[in-house]
Amino acid sequence: MTELQAREPLIFELSKPGRQAGTQFPPPVDGSAQIPAHLRRATPPALPEVSELQTVRHFTRLSQMNFSIDTHFYPLGSCTMKYNPKACNSFAMLPEFLGRHPLGPEPQGFLACMYELQEMLQEITGMQSVSLTPMAGAQGEFAGVAMIRAYHRARNDLGRTEIIVPQAAHGTNPATAAMCGCTVKEIPCDVDGNVDIDALKAAVSPATAAIMLTNPSTLGVFERKITEVARIVHEAGGLLYYDGANLNAILGKVRPGDMGFDVIHMNLHKTFSTPHGGGGPGSGAVGVGARLRPFLPIPIVGKDGARYRWLTERDLPQTIGRLSGFMGNAGVNLRAYVYMRLLGRDGMVRVAEFAALNANYLMKRLQAAGFEAAYPSRRASHEFIITLKRENRMYQVTAMDVAKRLLDYGFHAPTTYFPLLVPECLLIEPTETEAKEDLDRFCDAMIAIRREMEQDPEKLSSAPHTMPVRRLDDVRAAKQLDLAWKPAA
């Protein structure tokens, strides 16, 4: 069982007027006297007034109320929660890197790292060019679809505003299409989890801008007919967009460029192990084939002789433009660079190999324990789906109940209820950095939970029992909105 910090007051409840972490303050000066009276603040903002130790203790205790990769097995499907090597953070936080202003003279050491990162990502994905600018997977998607639109527009092919996505697609795919002013056409998958080829043939038209695909798909299986999908879409005049959410599964084994994709985004925070940070910052680098290169988001890093420099709209006049104030999440990209140098050529191939080994092993063990795999005839990629529809019928337990009960056993829950088309599903991604013993412990917990289902299902429906809080009232949260602490009047 886990031991998390039980409860911690709000930092505002620790506050007392006049208390200070004074060693952090600059000396008092009268600088703000230059502000005209009508533009000045009348009363100070209600920020907490606490000591340095109170602050350190408060946030340390909050950290102890979290599950994390450093403390717990975290098999959250589709999120690739692998070990984040400490070296990546240490080297990215060298003071010279941290101190550089983005608009200052072009820093040759940093840019050398970014140039090499672009080259490595090109090679791994089989693409012609890479831009590191997008700040998250969703922004990478945005950049990809915006480039596709710009490409069709540049060819004066103005009617192409439809994006095809499989039913199982991640929610960001349709949301991105909408942000780019496109409409979405969903197509079904067949019983084995492949794109339904007949439905695809019926869906393509002169309005097709592109298809957005994840491969291996969100169903945890490799899209075997990918070459045929590519041919159908290309013949219809559309392009292929690769959602890199599952790149971890195929690193060094097969490249999106070789599968026929025209543009891809990578989640550097998944495949290249930069931290998830409680929900960001990520980094969503995009790679493109020759057709889309002129439209890449700026800036990207170029090289004139021995000198590295930013390429801007002057070098890429057809660019879709800037997506961030400077050059995206530079420090995240630097962490990915360190990770790739630590892994090297062979290490990258091993990522896919051992991610697949762990996923297939765990799937087989859970099947042997009586759990039902959603696609039993297929190999797992780096992740797989267990469906609890039978357990739901027999014991009235839900995927959410099992997820919450796993927390009590000291495991972060797998992804639940995604993809939407598999009922009562758990999407499980162990990643390559977990040892066999940890996978076995997870199986033991699942077996124990299975026994509880039969003997004491109430134990599941009321879980978790050992966390800082029990199940939360989400309806109350949305109805009686309490989104900020307010000082007593």
Binding site: A46, A87, L94, P107, G109, M135, T227, V254, L483
Partner: protein
């Protein structure tokens, strides 16, 4: 093997359970002809060797003395900020989907939202967006959704607002038909005067953006601007510097108190000054706050305080019906993360500084910039561009092109400011400078001395 824990025995045992001969068999569903050969990527390096490589690269970049602001500001970062932020429990956790096992991150975001509301004077804040520039883009899309009095997709964007933000807003919103109309600034004061807005009175416009302090560091007459916007049923988007809000009137209070509608409607900005290092441009975070009546139009994650089944207080993600994983193509944005780790740093920073410390940082930065302007304008051929009161940045006009001067300063280890020639050619040889509390009198002396030296010698050469 890097980060792979498996022994040969483990592998053999696991393959036996799966029922295959080799790991290679696990990839038998990938068509043969698509399989990759050997990657042209460098071989692995030990941590020690990567450390040496990165240290050498960092040394190439050195540690010059920086006088650029322009949207990213160098402030003292207290030691506890990153010592705690990089704890594995924050660093290596993900989005708090399982609320019961993520109360630390969730409570921290709730505290962050509370602090952003306190600084901006607004009712609700989200859990952050990617950065200041993209936050403005999202604010523009939100304003078009929220302004029920307008059918327009036109947004007024002053030229005195950050021109990089304007570019980003254009790239992100362009495909949705948002049209930006640029509003000029007064060449004497450096302000977006009311007379430049008045031609738009009575027109159907969705929103007006105003930046305080503006890109030149000048303090806009925000009360007049807010009142004009509300009179014309235009939503007001305020772009603000969070440090400045310790001493400047918060956007929630802009405008005449007698009017029914007071204050900005959407507030956004770059959160980097709150404990996040410059780091060549990121990661930073964008903040966004609004009125309660617009909360359902706001993009991004939001954390709420609620109760568990036993009546204990707890925190969870809320109002998720706005987001992509529920609403798909009808979502408020495709965004599905915040900048969690940066928000962690900022929340610790704001706690340590409190109202007094943050006000001192603001006042000291204003004082240093005032000192810098005084010293630099004593150099022959340097004068101030504008007359308006300012915060901690200023535009200087040189009597010759700025770029060669900046290059000469850089050779002396000084990053002397941002050359505005390309973005504002009408200003002449304009240089945007900034000094924060991190610049001591000796640093300012060093800059002024070097500038005098370079200007004199280049005049002598000419």
């Amino acid at each position: 093997m890097a980060f792979i824990p498996h022994t040969p025995d483990d592998v053999a045992g696991m393959l036996a359970v799966i029922g295959v001969q080799s790991i290679e068999d696990l990839f038998d569903e990938i068509p043969r002809e698509l399989r990759t050969g050997k990657l042209a990527v460098p071989p692995a390096m030990a941590e020690m060797d990567v450390g040496r490589l990165l240290t050498e690269r960092a040394a190439l970049d050195g540690r010059p003395m920086n006088f650029i602001g322009a949207g990213a500001y160098e402030h003292h970062i207290p030691a506890p900020v990153w010592a705690i932020t990089t704890r594995g429990e924050f660093y290596s956790a993900y989005t708090p989907y399982q609320a019961e096992a993520s109360q630390g991150t969730l409570q921290l975001i709730y505290e962050y939202q509370s602090m952003i509301c306190a600084l901006t004077g607004m009712e609700v804040s989200n859990a952050s967006l990617y950065d200041g520039a993209s936050a403005l883009a999202e604010a523009c899309l939100m304003a078009v959704r929220a302004n029920r009095a307008s059918n327009s997709r036109r947004i007024l964007l002053p030229r005195a607002a950050n021109p990089i933000y304007a570019q980003v807003a254009q790239s992100i919103t362009g495909n949705q038909g948002i049209v930006f109309e640029s509003v000029d600034f007064d060449p004497v004061s450096g302000l977006t005067l009311l007379e430049y807005l008045q031609p738009y009175s009575g027109q159907d416009i969705a929103a007006l953006v105003v930046q305080q302090p503006n890109f030149f560091g000048n303090l806009e007459e925000v009360d007049q601007i807010a009142d004009w916007a509300h009179q014309n049923k235009i939503l007001l988007i305020a772009v603000v510097n969070p440090t400045s809000l310790a001493v400047l009137k918060p956007p929630g209070q802009w405008g005449a108190s007698t009017d029914a509608v007071r204050g900005a409607d959407i507030v956004c900005g770059e959160g980097q000054p709150l404990g996040v290092p410059l780091a060549a441009g990121g990661p930073y975070f964008g903040f966004m706050a609004t009125r309660m009546q617009y909360v359902r139009q706001m993009p991004g994650r939001i954390v709420g305080r609620t109760m568990d089944v036993e009546g204990r207080p707890g925190f969870s993600l809320t109002l998720q019906a706005r987001e992509q994983h529920i609403r798909r193509s009808k979502a408020t944005s495709n965004i599905c993360t915040n900048q969690g780790l940066m928000v962690t740093a900022a929340t610790i920073y704001m706690s340590l500084m409190g109202p007094t410390g943050l006000a001192r940082v603001a006042a000291a930065s204003m004082q240093r910039t005032a000192d810098l302007v005084t010293r630099l304008t004593r150099v022959a051929g340097v004068k101030q561009a504008f007359t308006a009161a300012r915060f901690h940045e200023a535009v200087l006009i040189l009597d010759r092109p700025v770029a060669p001067i900046l290059a000469a300063l850089a050779r002396r280890g000084i990053v002397g400011g941002l050359d505005l020639a390309e973005r504002y050619p009408e200003l002449g040889h304009a240089l945007l400078v900034c000094a924060t509390e991190t610049k001591l009198a000796a640093d300012i002396d060093a800059y002024a001395g070097a500038l005098a030296d370079i200007m004199n010698s280049s005049r002598a050469a000419a």
